[in-house]
């Protein structure tokens, strides 16, 4: 009997496959396509304290084996999420992870406080609430903070410390591939009390419209994701997993069960599926089953047997 259930930051998961932030909304439209309990968990669209309108101009561009996005964290704000999305998001029988973004330190901490308060209230009423916060210090698409927080260790430290103080919920910190020293940043997050790390966010990239002689995107650069970034993500997960003892969630271009095993072998405790949800809107319906079948063929009884063996 092959088992793929696991634990992440103290939260039990039915399998290690989570849906990545920004590619799954709050789960709703996918729930019409398949039962979301087939996923280990879902990560919400990046939320900020106040609603954000997102970026102007082109927001999406396809590249060979990847996509670039410049959404700019368009989201309804944390209050609207709590009022009209959370209860449904928590009704699918799968772990609920809220991705928290922000432009300023204050915005991050206030957001974390609101989420924590609401979650504790729901729990007190015996309801499933927010299982984890994923702190996004790495969104490359917003002007004020975002990537800046994810690049320099000192800035990142300030955010992680403040948010850690503001919440008792299990805390994942999502790292940017643009960090100046990724291993150093990972160790800093561990020291500041993060319960886990997730990586990678999109890679800053560019496309130029040669006829218009301008960048395709109003904000010049955008974030690259999809199969194209998998080898880079895998290398980074490998480096980080060897540098810390908290669990690492591997993200980047994962498109099949084989990819998942690669990330687990590189040291990931769990993985997130992002762009692949667009390639196959029903990806989450079958990936866990495909993972079990693959492990069966490869003679792998449990993920623990191969985790971090490379």
């Amino acid at each position: 009997m092959i088992s793929i259930d696991c634990e992440l930051a103290g939260v039990p998961l039915s399998n290690p496959i989570l849906a990545a932030s920004g590619t799954f909304g709050f789960g709703k439209p996918y729930a019409d396509l398949y039962p979301l309990r087939k996923l280990g968990g879902i990560v919400s669209k990046g939320l900020t304290l106040n609603p954000r309108p997102g970026n102007t101009g082109t927001r999406l561009y396809e590249t060979p084996s990847g996509i670039m996005n410049s959404i700019g964290l368009e989201n309804p704000g944390i209050r609207a999420f709590l009022d009209s999305e959370l209860s449904e998001m928590a009704s699918h029988g799968t772990a609920v992870i809220v991705n928290l973004g922000g432009g300023t330190l204050c915005e991050y901490t206030e957001g974390a406080e609101l989420l924590t308060e609401a979650s504790l209230k729901l729990q007190a009423a015996g309801k499933r609430a927010i299982d984890m916060i994923e702190l996004n210090i790495s969104c490359p698409n917003i002007k004020e903070g975002g990537l800046a927080f994810g690049v320099e260790n000192e800035q990142a430290q300030a955010v992680v410390r403040a948010v850690r103080r503001a919440t008792a919920l299990p805390l994942l910190v999502k790292l940017s591939p643009g960090a100046r020293d990724l291993k150093e940043m990972a160790r800093m997050c561990e020291a500041e009390g993060a319960d886990g790390l997730s990586l990678i966010n999109t890679i800053q990239a560019m496309a130029i419209d040669i006829r218009e002689r301008r960048s395709v995107f109003d904000r010049a650069y955008a974030g690259l994701s999809g199969p194209a970034i998998k080898p880079i993500a895998l290398r980074m997960v490998h480096q980080v997993a060897r540098s810390v003892s908290i669990p690492v969630v591997g993200i980047g271009g994962i498109s099949c069960a084989e990819d998942i095993l690669e990330f687990i072998m590189a040291g990931a405790a769990a993985v997130q599926i992002g762009t692949f949800n667009f390639i196959n809107l029903r990806a989450g319906d079958t990936l866990a089953e495909e993972l079990i079948q693959l492990m069966d063929r490869e003679g792998i009884p449990s993920l623990d047997d191969i985790r971090g063996i490379i």
Binding site: L60, N69, G226, L281
Partner: protein, 233 residues
Amino acid sequence: MALVIQNVKLAHRIYRLTIQGSYSARMGQFFMLRCWDTYPVLSRPISVHNLTEDSVSFLYRVHGTGTWLLSALQAGDKIQLEGPFGQGFPEPQGRTALVGGGIGAAPLLLAAKEIPDASVYLGYTSVPFGVTGFHEISRNVTVKSGGTIVDAVDPSRYDTIFACGPVGMMHSLAQKTESTNAELHISVEKRMGCGIGVCNSCTVTSAGKSRKVCTDGPVFPAKEVNWNDLHRL
């Protein structure tokens, strides 16, 4: 996975793809299509052209890699489609005109079937295509090659106008309609990641609010759109 029944070339770069299956869709809705593995990454949004009890068909123009791969499909091949998505055209009020520019004719055939007494205007840069289907349904079809089809439409004769085509064509139709009582609804295009409202890639401003083409559209009241949003995909 669905089965391709037919994929016929109607004109230079223009194909009609018919897929087996019983689908229900409203006029103006679209499907996300793909007949390849992970390259290209994204599925392609294509409007429903026609529906029968056991098939759905699409009229498309070969533009780049994705539509080129679609054009190579043959009867018996497999294709993935998800949908129908979007809101489609609203219930028409009163006298109705359907105005298509080039491949913009695609979603109008289903509309012509649902609104049998609508006047149909189809404009083409050169050789018309897909016109037979319209003639079979409607006695009131105007086809124009070269020039702009907008010249052939007198908006003051209609209460409702549905249009699909190049942004410039729809914009000039909107300007012509402005001084009349006709309600113009246009089908717009944006690059789409998911097609189901989760990625926020396809947003446009309508009535001052951020709206998603895939779930709130692709049809919007022409009065409410910000035309600047539509010139760049």
